[in-house]
Symmetry: C2
Subunit: 410 residues, 2 copies
């Protein structure tokens, strides 16, 4: 008889996985997967061979002899890249290499958050960040977004209200450049205003810049951290979007008062060393060229998805073209419940992110959805959006018009 | 003026790191670092090149298209290796690849432990396991060890006492094969007895087999999990000791009832993919030969350290030669406080693990220490043990005899 673990498990665990992974659905429009053809496999392979032959012996040490903050040459590259692309000057001692930016989120949450704490975030926001905060018992307060990012008047009013209640939020979490999911870029003026407001309430900012290297529309404003001279901004980024999610390499940038406090809480024995070594050597020579080519591929796929949405959903699908990145944030008419749609569509081979999972207040995401376009081929984008429209029409009567035909209203 | 984060930080954080890493001390006898010359760099480099050219495109996906349990060929190798070397049959669906076995510990602790829970462990036990449990508010109860591993009479009496108090421990954590730090191997008879006792109290076992592939003295008994047919044993292992800690690849083996429950709690976006791909291909052809050669190197270094201890500490240092692995567990006379010794020695370039950090009840480790021999050269082992003896003599009068001279008693 199998051992019964149930009475020993901690309460409030998430629902168990029903079965082992059996492959992706036919049309996979969720998650951060990227364009497989854009992975520079040959070059990465050559570099891996040369770096292993040269420095492979260091794999015998935790931290490959570079200490707990990560491989030195990678931190040097990150510092150079941030200065050049984000106007952000930092020393290698202010950089901590992490296992993806997800670990950066976990480390910072762990430093600040106790149950009952308050965090401010964009009203529509990366699902993994919101779910992490809520799991820790955080009260997440959402700030309205428009096409220029977080709305400063709303932020000011939220902070004022909280202060009246005696609440000082632990931080303002923001994705200012290619916001997830809206694809917007916070203007320079708003960045300065954000800093001013945050400092006046003595609230730090946690700036997540994961997608910023994949901006194709307009100039990249300086990072918020670059505009601050008090160290109040903790910054994180990643190579998951710009090079490969499979590498699991991200980074945290902050003053030593934060990095030094994070280090003893990062008890994972270090981030994958081979991947740091390969990335450092590849990125130092090829990063700019690579992200420029990758951005062009993504922009093209983004347009393909926008065209498919236009053709299949017509005016029923409202969206603003993102300024970079890998997703489109779509609003459908009020009567469509995208959580229900996502369940039905998945059974028919189309995976989508229902809006309720990508907003701070689930109710506001009910008729929204996020579609990722980086990983599927252009044919898959066209066919998958078509199938999604058909399912949506069958289930909700929306879109009324699509596929170049006028569908009967149910 | 720098932003003041102090009032925002969560209470009870560990002490901050005082300064960035500035290199290892001259004699580094702590941690799981391994023999650098034994890393098969050339072969790993060739494999990395070939696997990246062949499958590098899959790095564009989280989980490289193999789902959240890890790269398929690596899980196949792990299953084959466990059957062959540990008599443990498992399917690839019962294996979860983790970022080192440290993540396996975190995942299992997170599944079971709430503050106030009880866990049973060997009285002298891996410091990272004990510190993790204590940080979670666990009451860790230590079982006496002898040269054949955990003492079954003591375990029986502990479980009986706990039951009388109405306490059912969450699990028995054990390192049965090359126990850390004692280097002992739990006999087959005791493995069977352990299972019988644990099952009679309905307490699961968490078997940590990290060092088992580096056994050089005697035959490897079957894993405890291999002797059980109820699924009550959760098993973990690692490539950190057998191939390279820098890779950060370990594995958890359990029935699906546990694996399926762990999966939604592993929110790290997967374990490093390049490292899994390289390891899978390397290990499938070279694992046995590699660990056999590495074990011979380690055995030789172990003997060098034993000889140096004999020469420098004489009868003051009591230890049993380990049956494999990378460390020796040493008892000094009662009047030596190894926590103090470790602080002083570190300032003079010798890093050691004080016993208090490697036992369940710190008091019992006060005059013990753990010395790791895998990473330093044989000259470093000889010179470092000599320096340690000199420092120890100067500070405590012990060893009275050493360095082939009779030291004056203080």
């Amino acid at each position: 008889m199998p051992f019964d673990f149930r009475s020993l498990l901690r309460p409030n665990l998430p629902a168990a996985s029903p079965a082992p992974f059996s492959g992706y659905p036919e049309f996979y429009f969720v998650g951060g997967n990227n364009d497989a053809d854009s992975i520079p496999r040959k070059k990465l392979g050559e570099i891996a061979k040369s770096v292993l032959e040269r420095e492979g012996g260091s794999l015998a040490s935790y931290g490959i002899g570079h200490g707990p903050q990560g491989y030195g040459p990678l931190r040097t590259f990150i510092a150079d890249k941030l200065e050049k692309r984000a106007g952000l000057k930092c020393s290698v001692d202010e950089i901590l290499v992490t296992s993806g930016s997800l670990q950066a989120l976990d480390l910072i949450n762990n430093l600040f958050i106790e149950p009952g704490d308050t965090v401010i975030a964009e009203a529509a926001c990366y699902g993994g960040a919101v779910s992490r905060l809520k799991k820790l018992g955080t009260n997440v307060v959402g700030v309205d977004l428009d096409e220029d990012g977080m709305c400063m008047d709303h932020l000011r009013s939220i902070l004022g209200d909280l202060k009246q209640k005696g609440i000082r939020p632990k931080f303002i979490y923001t994705i200012p450049t290619v916001q997830n999911p809206s694809g917007s870029v916070l203007t320079l003026e708003r960045r300065k205003e954000l800093l001013e407001i945050a400092n006046s309430y003595a609230v730090p900012i946690f700036e997540d810049d994961c997608y910023a290297d994949l901006l194709w529309d307009g100039e990249r404003p300086p990072a918020i951290r670059a505009l601050d001279n008090t160290g109040s901004v903790i910054y994180c980024g990643s190579f998951s979007k710009s090079i490969a999610p499979g590498f699991r390499v991200g980074y945290l940038v902050a003053d030593w008062s934060i990095i030094g406090q994070v280090l003893p809480t990062k008890t994972d024995g270090g981030t994958g060393a081979l991947e740091q070594m390969v990335l450092a050597e590849y990125a130092t020579t090829d990063f700019d060229q690579h992200v420029s080519e990758l951005s062009a591929v993504l922009k093209d796929k983004c347009q393909t998805m926008a065209d498919a949405l236009e053709e299949q959903f017509g005016t029923a699908a409202e969206f603003t073209l993102p300024k970079g990145g890998i997703f489109i944030w779509i609003t459908l008419p009020d009567q469509v419940d995208t959580s229900l749609l996502a369940q039905i569509a998945l059974r028919e081979g189309v995976a989508i992110n229902p809006g309720a999972e990508w907003v701070v207040n689930p109710e506001t995401g009910k008729h929204r959805l996020r579609l990722c376009f980086a990983s599927p081929s252009k044919d898959q984008i066209r066919d998958g959006v078509k199938r999604l429209a058909e399912i949506c029409h069958r289930e909700t009567g929306i879109p009324m018009r699509g596929g170049n035909t006028t569908r009967a209203k149910l």
